[in-house]
């Protein structure tokens, strides 16, 4: 089953076309890594898939539900209504480069608040989900801490736990380790590896090439608003076909 499908997605900021017709689909259980030079449109792609940006035209569905489509003969994208949007938002999670944890909430409340006030779970249920996730993230002791008292790596793991709490079908990551000191990236990458092992469906924008090769089933190289090349991870990394891909990978 396709958990993410994008067809001919176009997005401009003013005169600048940032996505020039993206086609991408992600199967259940698949891990897709997106690599490419800065400014290539990777973040914009994730932001369009996660409703943070609206697209100009094209089609996106998540978990089988149509988020946006463009009727034939029209050049204007048509979005799902508010009710469907809420439903669709519960199907995915997003992990930001700079975490975006809620600083005034404890770690526990960061993870449980949406469970309680959006998904109407009981406090007890939310707390037990939280305990389980914290254990998985190696942060069992940190439930009562506040984000400001955690290292960047710990904060990012909390934000992964927060994204996982509502049990999404697909998880998006936008450069999850780029804001971290090098010695803190390993813990975060390990957590993502574990998730891949559990067959969590993930789309990961990353600059960690060896990580991408190890963890991803498929790698997508994006540049200038288009998908330039894609294929099985080891093939794209070890044996790129496209000149731009080669040039980009030579820098690593």
């Amino acid at each position: 089953m396709k958990l993410l499908e994008m067809k001919d997605v176009k997005k401009s900021f003013g005169d600048l076309q940032v996505l020039k017709g993206i086609d991408l689909s992600v199967e259940q259980g698949e891990v897709v890594a997106i690599i490419g030079p800065s400014g290539g449109g990777k973040s914009t792609l994730l932001r369009c898939a996660t409703t943070l940006e609206t697209i100009d035209s094209g089609f996106i569905s998540i978990g089988g539900d149509t988020l946006v489509s463009t009727p034939a003969g029209s050049d204007k994208a048509h979005y799902a209504d508010k009710h469907q949007m809420t439903e669709i938002r519960s199907k995915f999670g997003l992990v930001f480069q700079n975490f975006n944890l809620f600083p005034h909430f404890s770690v526990r409340r960061n993870i449980t608040e949406a469970l309680v006030s959006v998904h109407k779970k009981s406090k007890e249920e939310a707390n037990s989900i939280c305990d389980e996730l914290l254990a998985k993230m190696g942060l069992s002791e940190k439930g009562d801490s506040y984000p400001c008292n955690l290292s960047g790596g710990q904060q990012q793991r909390v934000s992964i736990a927060r994204a996982l709490a509502t049990n999404p079908e697909i998880l998006f990551f936008d450069e999850p380790t780029s804001a971290l000191d090098p010695e803190l990236t390993a813990g975060v990458l390990k957590v993502i590896r574990d998730l891949a092992e559990e067959k969590m469906t993930m789309v990961i924008v990353t600059h960690e090439m060896s990580f991408a090769r190890d963890v991803a089933d498929r790698i997508i190289f994006m540049d200038g608003g288009v998908i330039v090349e894609q294929g099985p991870a080891s093939e794209v990394i070890n044996n790129p076909k496209n000149d731009r891909t080669k040039e980009f990978l030579a820098g690593y």
Partner: protein, 223 residues
């Protein structure tokens, strides 16, 4: 000795009105200020434009004049007799004072809140949106608590100014503490009642600072 006691008693009677003006102004102007801040940030140009004019008038003209206008306008515009405005047995002079102060302080609070709201990073809204929070939940659970922490020092300044500004109520002949002190001072041909009033204001602001400091400290669990 007796004279001192009578002076203090009369000042205390005035102080009651000072407190009433202070408390009700805080009670009304803070929520109103939050509303004005929201309107000021409205994406509808007409609404944000009108709000902007409101704020600039409130901040750009004397509070004393505003108090006089609130008092006299109902009569001047609609011919309403002022004694008909004595709702619930409260003299309209006092009501008008509280309304005037609330409208004026709401404008100042609105600008403080607007700055506080705009200082919340976009990522907070985005994280909340992705997690499925409604706009109302996002505002009250995520944004507002952080705004309160950010604006507390500026709000403290306004509150301290308000304590002193209550003396402007004398323009509507509300016998708050300063009015009382002035009357006593001329009756006794002495400056002592005024100095005593000064001590009252000073002590009250000392209390304001203690309370606000506690409040600020209570939010120091994160930064």
């Amino acid at each position: 000795m007796e004279r001192y006691i009578s002076t203090i008693t009369q000042l205390a009677a005035g102080f009651k009105f000072t407190l009433i003006i202070f408390a009700f102004t805080i009670l009304f102007s803070i929520p109103l200020g939050l509303l004005v801040a929201k309107l000021r940030m409205s994406k509808f140009k007409v609404i944000s434009g009108i709000t902007r004019v409101y704020i600039s008038i409130m901040r750009g003209t004397p509070l004393m004049l505003q108090l006089l206008l609130v008092y006299f306008l109902p009569n001047m515009l609609f011919g309403i007799a002022l004694r008909d405005l004595n709702f619930g047995g409260v003299d309209y002079r006092l009501t008008a004072t509280v309304i005037g102060f609330s409208l004026n302080y709401a404008a100042y609070f609105a600008e403080i809140f607007r700055g506080g709201i705009q200082s919340i990073p976009k990522g907070q809204y985005e994280a909340a949106q992705i997690l499925g929070f409604t706009n109302t939940q996002t505002f009250f659970k995520i944004v507002l608590p952080q705004v309160i922490k950010n604006v507390l020092p500026a709000v403290t300044n306004e509150v301290i100014t308000l304590v002193k500004d209550t003396s402007l109520a004398q323009v509507l002949s509300v016998t708050e503490m300063f009015t009382a002190a002035k009357a006593l001072s001329s009756a006794q041909v002495s400056i002592m009642p005024l100095i005593a009033a000064g001590v009252f204001y000073y002590v009250m602001n000392g209390l304001v600072e203690i309370v606000m400091n506690r409040f600020e400290k209570s939010m120091n669990y994160y930064h």
